[in-house]
Symmetry: D2
Subunit: 317 residues, 4 copies
C-alpha cells in the first residue's frame, strides 16, 4: 500500500466473524469499501492483483497458534507487507433467536475451535445440549437465525448482524484468549514509527542446525533487538530448508533494527521483510519489549557512528 | 505407557482420515483394540484416565503448521510422553461412488484445508465443479458414499472404508506435503535408543527476551544437540510467559542429551519432557541431524568424565 | 605434591626479593627447608625431579603483566599444579646503610622494573641522584649493603636481610601494585574447596579464530563459571596454534567446574589442568566472583541430575 | 603522526639491540633522524610532546609474552596510534672480539632473557663457561667489546655495531622466536588499507565476568572480524575493572571493522582505538586471517545497506 489511505478493503469472511469485528476497530473501515472473501489466499491475491488495497487476515490465535496459511502466503509470491496489527479478545457469545430461553436449547451450532474453547461453559450451562459443528462462527450465527439450530456460539458482531439475542457473553474458558490479525498491503513506505512498533520477518536458513538459528538470533541480540515470537516452518520446496518467522520489537526506520536487518541479510540464505507497523496494545507482547535496551537507542547509534567517523579521519586526539 | 505393549489405542477420528491411516502403519495396531475419538483433548484424556493405553494425535502438518491443540494439551495436565512418531504423506485422492466418471462431477465435498491443498488440481481437472466444505476428510467420504455429493477429496483409507472408487491419486499441489503424528502414552521408561531418535520438550521462560531464548539454544548447542523444530506459544495463564516447543535430535539416554536437559532445567523456569522416541524416516528431519557431532558422542562424554575423575583424584601425572 | 605437607621448598631467588617475602607469608615456610634457585625453569625442574616438594614462582604482576616464563614452563613438560596462590603488595622501600641520610644519596641501585615503578617518587625526593640498574631487587640490596651504591630500591625483606635502614616506605607510584605468586607441586589430590577457590587452565585451540575462543568461553559461561583472567600466547611449536591461559573462579571438585572442564576437553585440541587452589584475598579477583551464580550451585546440579534420572527411568508421572 | 612522513624517530635503546635492528628494516629509517631512548615511557612521551614524530617500541615477544609497559603506556595518557608493525626473528648470535676462539671463552655476557633462550646451545657448546647477566643485549655486546667478558649473546646488529666477530648464529633454542614491535605516532588518518591489516584496541569492561567478555567477542564475531590476540590486564585505577587488549584482523576503514567498533563502543564502558596498520608478514598472525569471511566483505555490507534503503523507502516490490 503506498502512502494513500486504502480505499478498498477485504477480510477473511464470511460476514459476522471475528475478522470482520477486528476490521471494524480500524478507523479506515468507516470510509473504505469493505468486502469479505472466502480464504486467506484469495484475500492476499486480491491485494497483489490490485483489486483491493489492503486485506485483514488472521496471524495467530492464542489458543490455536499460528495461521500457517497466512504465513505461507506472505512468505511466497509477490512481496506484501503488514501495515497494521489488530488484536482482538475472543469473547464468544451464545446467540439465539429473540424469545429463546436457555433451558429451551437443544442444539448449538459452533465451529470446532469455538466448541472446544467453550467446552467448560457448555458442560456447566447446557449439559444436555448437542453441539453441531459448522464451518465458521459466521455460519453458526446464520444457522441459528434461520432456525436450523436453537443457538450459536459466535462473535458479538455475528449475533448483531443476524439479529440474535445474546443469552450469555464471554463464555470461553480462557478469559484472555485473543486473535491477532494483520492488515496487509502492497509494499510502500512503512507507517512512521510510533515508539511501540513491531517488525515481522521470514528468515530462511540452509540447514536447520541449532547453530544456524543461534546465528540468526545473535544478529538480533547484538543490536538490542528483542524477539516476541518465533516459529519454524519447513518450506515446501525441498527437504531440510527451514523458514523462521520472527516477530521483533522495533521499526525498520530505527538504527538498531536497520543494522540487525542488514546482518540477517548477510548471514541468511534469504530474508523477507514482512513489514514494520504499530503494535496493538495486547498481551501478545509485553510492554517493556517496546523500547530500546541500554546502548541501543538511535542516539547511541549516532554517537558511535560519530566516534567512528572521528577515528577514520584521525581527529580523535 | 509402561513397558507393556499398548492394548487399547485411540486416535483422532472420525474413521477414514489420515490419523487412522497413520495408526495402521504401526504393527501394534494389528493386535490392539483401536477406536476413534472426537477430539485431541478427548484422546489424551482417555490415556490420562487409563481408559486407553496410547493415543495417536497430529503434531504438525507441513502445510498448515503446528497443531496448537495437541501442543497445549501435552504441555498441561498430567504428564504424557511421545513414544512413537509417524509421518504420513498427505496423498489426497478424489473418491466417488463406483461408476461415476470425472466429467459427471458437479459437487465435491472437502475439508477446507484439503480444498486449499488441492486448489490447483481442481482448477485444472474440475474447473466447473462446486467445492462444498465439510468438517473432516472422513465426513467428505461419507457424504460422497451416501450420494450427498458427487465426489470427495479424502484420504486413501477413507475411499477404501466407504467403498469409493479412486478417480485420481496424489492430487495435492505440493507433492511432498506430510503430516506428523505422535503416539502418546503415560510416562514410563522411554523406548530404547535406535540411533535415530527425537526428543520433544516444552521449555518455559519467564521473559520473552531474545537473550532468554539464546540461553536456551546455547544449552543445546554447547552439548552438540541439534534442533529440528522450534515454536513459541504464549501460555494462557499470564502475559509475557512463553513456552517454546523444541524438537531435538537424540535420545534422553544419550550423554549429550542428558547434560543438555539438565542445563535447561537449571536455566528455565520450567522444562517439561515430552518424550524420546524413534524418528520416522521423513523430510521433517534431515538425516544428517541424527548422529552426534564431533566431540559429542557417548564415548566422548565418557572419555571426558574419566579425565575429570583423574584430575579430581590427582592421578594425572 | 601428594597429600603430605611439603618439606622442601624452593623459590625464585636471590634471597631478599619479593618471592622470598611471599613465601614467608605461608605457614608451611616455618617448618620446611627453604632455598632460593636462580630461575623459574630451575625451580619447576627441581619439583619435577623430586628434589623439591614445591616451588614458589611469580605468575603475574599488576604493572608488568604475566610472567611468560612461568606460564610456558607450566604448560610444557611433566604436569605440575598450583596448590596455593599468594598475592603480595609490591611495597618498595628505599634502603641504605645505617647512618645514611637522604640528602647524602648520589647513586641508587634498582632493578629496571623497580626504577620504573618508583619514577615519580625518585623525581620528587632524589631529583639529582643517579639510578644504576641491576639485575634483581635482591642484587640492589646487596650492592647497597656492600657500599657499591649509596642506596637501593628493594623489598622490605631485602632491607631486613642485608641490615639496611629503611629511609622511605611504599615509594611505588601505584600504591596498589601487586605481584601474584603460585606455589607449585607435582600432581596430587587438590586442596579441598574453601568456598573461594581458583582454577587455572591452559587451553589449546587449533586456530586462533574468534569463533574458537567464543566456543571456549561459552563452555564456561553455560555452566556459570566465571573468568577472572585470560591471556593468549602463541605456542612455540608451530604457527597458528594458540594457548589460552584461563583463571576461573571455582574448584575442580565443584559440579559446575567439573562439567565445564569436561566440555573444554571435548571442544579443545588440548586442555591442561594447572590446579585448583584457595584464592588469596586480593584485588586480582573481585570478591563477588567467588560464589556460584543462580542455578549453578552444587545443589542445583544435584537437583537437575536427580530430575534426569527420573526422566530416564520413566518415573516422572 | 599526520600524513607527513615522520622525520624524527626514537626507539627503545640502547643501540645495537633488536629494537634498533627492527627499526632499520623500515625504509623511513634511512631518511629520518633516529635516536635511542632509555625506556618505553620516555619514547612515547617524546611522541606525545612532539619532540619525536614516531617511536619504535616492543609489543610482545613470542617467548616472554606481552610487553606490559608498552600496553599500559598506550592505554593511558594522550592518545597514540600504531601505524606500522614490525616482526623480527630473534636470531641471537654469539659475538666476541676478533681472534677469539670458542674454546677460549670463559665468561659470556647476556641479558637474562637471552641467556634463558639460548640455554640449550650454551649447555652443548660452552658447557663450562660462566654466564654473567647484564641489563640488555646491547650492554652485553659493549661488555664483550671492552674486554670485560670473553663473549656476548646479542643481536646481529649489536655485534656489527661493536665490531665483534660472530662465532655462532641463530643460537636460540626456539628457532622461530620473534619479537613484535610497533611504530607509534600521534593520531592522524590511518595508513590506507593494504588488504592485510591489523587493528589494535583496548576495551574496558566494568566487571570481569565471562559474560562481559563474551559480549565483547560476540560484537566482533557477528561482523566477521577475527581476533588474533587477546590479553586481559587489571587496570591500576581500581579493583574489578579490566582492560582487554585485542588484536584484530582488518582495518578501521573496512565496513565490518567499522560496525564492530561501533558495537564495542556501545557495549563497553570505554574503547580506546590504538591504530590500524599494515601487518608484518609473520607467524604471529596466520595468513588466512587477513581476508573477510563469507558475507563480511565491503561489497556484502554495501549490498545489505542498499537492500535496507529499499525496505525503508518501500521500493522493494
Amino acid at each position: 500500500m503506498p502512502d494513500a489511505v486504502p480505499q478498498r478493503l477485504v477480510y477473511l469472511g464470511p460476514e459476522g466473524t471475528f475478522a470482520e469485528q477486528a476490521l471494524r476497530t480500524l478507523p479506515v473501515s468507516a470510509t473504505a469499501s469493505v468486502a469479505p472473501v472466502r480464504s486467506v489466499p484469495e484475500a492476499l491475491d486480491a491485494v497483489r492483483a490490485g483489486t483491493a488495497d489492503a486485506a485483514l487476515v488472521p496471524l495467530e490465535n492464542s489458543i490455536g497458534g499460528a495461521e500457517g496459511v497466512t504465513l505461507d502466503e506472505l512468505a511466497n509470491g509477490d512481496p506484501l507487507v503488514i501495515i497494521r496489527e489488530v488484536v482482538l479478545a475472543v469473547d464468544f457469545v451464545l446467540g439465539a433467536r429473540p424469545g429463546t430461553s436457555l433451558d429451551a436449547i437443544i442444539t448449538v451450532a459452533a465451529h470446532p475451535n469455538a466448541a472446544r474453547q467453550c467446552r467448560g461453559w457448555l458442560r456447566e450451562h447446557l449439559p444436555t445440549a448437542t453441539v453441531v459443528e459448522v464451518l465458521s462462527n459466521g455460519a453458526a450465527a446464520v444457522g441459528a437465525a434461520q432456525g436450523e439450530f436453537d443457538a450459536a456460539i459466535c462473535a458479538p458482531i455475528g449475533a448483531e448482524r443476524h439479529r440474535l439475542s445474546v443469552l450469555a457473553k464471554e463464555i470461553a474458558d480462557h478469559a484472555d484468549a485473543m486473535t491477532r490479525f494483520a492488515l496487509v498491503s502492497r509494499p510502500g513506505p512503512p507507517p512512521p514509527p510510533t515508539g511501540n512498533d513491531g517488525t515481522t520477518l521470514a528468515v530462511y536458513i540452509a540447514h536447520d542446525r541449532v547453530g544456524a538459528l543461534l546465528a540468526v538470533l545473535t544478529e538480533l541480540a547484538v543490536r538490542g533487538v528483542n524477539l516476541t515470537r518465533i516459529e519454524s516452518r519447513p518450506t515446501g520446496e525441498r527437504l531440510g530448508r527451514y523458514a523462521f518467522f520472527l516477530d521483533c520489537s522495533g521499526h525498520v526506520a530505527e538504527a538498531r533494527m536497520g543494522e540487525a536487518l542488514q546482518g540477517l541479510r548477510r548471514v541468511s540464505s534469504e530474508v523477507r521483510f514482512l513489514g514494520s507497523y504499530p503494535r496493538a496494545a495486547s498481551g501478545f507482547s509485553p510492554e517493556d519489549a517496546a523500547s530500546a535496551p541500554p546502548g541501543a537507542s538511535d542516539a547511541d547509534f549516532e554517537a558511535s557512528a560519530a566516534w567512528l567517523a572521528r577515528l577514520r579521519s584521525g581527529s580523535h586526539s
